[in-house]
Amino acid sequence: MKAELTENILNQIPDSVRFNQDDAAALVAHQSFLLSLEDELVKGFYDHLYAHETTRKIFTDDEREAREKTLRDWYQRTLSGPFDTHYWEWQTLVGLVHIKRNVNNAMVAGMWGWLQTFLGQHVLEKLPSEEALKVIKAVHALQAVVMALISESYQRNMFTAVDKAAGLNEALLYRLVSIEIDEMLAQAR
């Protein structure tokens, strides 16, 4: 995964709201409490995905154990930091791994919503409210960065692939899309 692509996407988010050192510190400071939620988090996450027909179809019959393991590994690595370029590049790669398995952005965004609520409820119950809010903010900022990396890298990788395959450069693709969007907007208004 190209480091520049990841860096470029991160730089689209204003510094002042992007996941920062304070967010990293909040997650690491409450690492042991957050890790105590791991079993429930992993079970809840996949219970939802397996209970819904569209997401259930993504998985093969014998896959649940392996998927739970990847989520556990991800959760543990995330709570340990560091949130360096290597970590963000990995998140971009996770996005591509998902695309390869037909996991789309709607599914991932939906599960991020669940994850945020799950963690939010637990930290509000157990941590002093000031600390709980720091963790909640960190999880929100993390979600925003990861979704940004996944969705933007998908679009840009797709543009690169179309250019390679069909010779339509990125600027031209934007132009073609923009012409059609103008028309869709004109029709919608």
């Binding site: 250019d163 395959a165 069909a166 010779g167 339509l168 450069n169 600027a171 031209l172 934007y174 132009r175 073609l176 012409i179």
Partner: protein, 122 residues
């Protein structure tokens, strides 16, 4: 003469020298119209699809080992469109009558494309 005047001149000369040509489009490789006599509402799309056709033509000639791409032709019942790469930065597309003198159209248009390349590279 400015670049845009030079491009306009190429385009006027093409129309004057080849009566079978009924439209000329000089566009950037990003699909923006630079000089044309297509009506404005058609020109936006023609510029974009001409750039797209030249890009695709480029890939087809690469994949099928045709050598340096020279021309992309789209032929319909009522007319045809010839699209030429004008260097790295542009394309030249001409619309001609299906029953016209195709040899002359191609000769003049491919010469004009070389001129467009020279001007865009200046």
């Amino acid at each position: 003469m400015s670049k845009s005047e030079e491009l306009k001149k190429i385009h006027t000369e093409l129309r004057e020298n080849v009566p079978d040509i009924s439209g000329v489009m000089i566009a950037s490789y990003e699909g923006l119209s630079i000089a044309t006599d297509f009506p404005e509402d058609e020109a936006i799309r023609i510029a974009a699809v001409s750039a797209a056709a030249s890009g695709l033509g480029n890939r087809i000639s690469g994949n099928a080992a045709l050598g340096e791409p020279e021309e992309v032709m789209v032929k319909g019942k009522d007319g045809l469109m010839l699209i030429y790469l004008a260097g790295e930065k542009g394309v030249l597309a001409v619309r001609a009558s299906a029953r016209g003198n195709l040899g002359l159209v191609r000769l003049e248009a491919s010469e004009a494309a070389k001129e467009v390349t020279r001007i865009l590279n200046m």
